[in-house]
Subunit: 100 residues, 3 copies
């Protein structure tokens, strides 16, 4: 089975950011995304405060350049102000050329 290696970008953030973040990733080049409801606990920003509560897990399959733009944008515009986590991993996608 031919697959294409893509980046799966995962963003975990507060519920109120869902609309903003899905618009961001679309604007930055993602052709689709999946959002799941979750709950969690973590450290906010510079470890100065803890957060605990409802959040969302946003995932999108993108090429390396779009992944880079999304992570960059998260670090610049969200991490200083919001509790958020962003990470990327390599996945092998069926008909992955659709997402590039």
């Amino acid at each position: 089975m031919n697959t294409v290696e893509l980046k799966c970008v995962t963003i975990i953030a507060e519920v109120i950011l869902e609309k903003r973040l899905t618009e961001e990733v679309t604007r930055l080049g993602a052709t689709g995304y999946t959002v799941t409801d979750a709950r969690g606990k973590g450290s906010r920003g510079l470890r100065t405060s803890e957060w605990e509560g409802q959040n969302i897990v946003l995932q999108t399959l993108v090429g390396p350049a779009v992944a880079e733009r999304i992570l960059q944008r998260m670090a610049e515009a969200y991490f200083p102000h919001f509790a958020a986590v962003a990470y990327v991993e390599n996945v092998q996608v069926v008909r992955g050329e659709k997402y590039l």
Copy 2:
């Protein structure tokens, strides 16, 4: 800690396909699966239409041969007719021999 490298296969699809897809992966050799509710947006088939709405994320840990069969089956029987995403990644599983 000894772990076994397995394939984690992820299928994202419309909610109505849940029963069919869980039966498919079981028939193709998966010993178990996890289903999560999600919402999302993406391009359907040949980019001719967009879909947006409720979907499910189905994940299963399997050996390479079963993973291959699942991806093949998705590409042949589902991708031409349904909005669906399928990808695979390597994971290190505790007592992973159970899943082979």
Copy 3:
């Protein structure tokens, strides 16, 4: 974009274990976690019984030593008694040094 490679540990278990497992991973060194509701089917323990029903997916980003401790603890204290799955994968995390 600088990222740090961390371990994403995933534990899938029965709903009743949520509190116990989130306390375990925190005690073993995780600085945060995310929990999602899911449903699934699998084989319990030595394949002697099947389970099917509501479960949780607990995920946490940690360094290699904490990942090892969590997997070890799962194998010793949970796998003999509960239906549970535990696996680990490498991910590239923005500001990942926060989780170490």
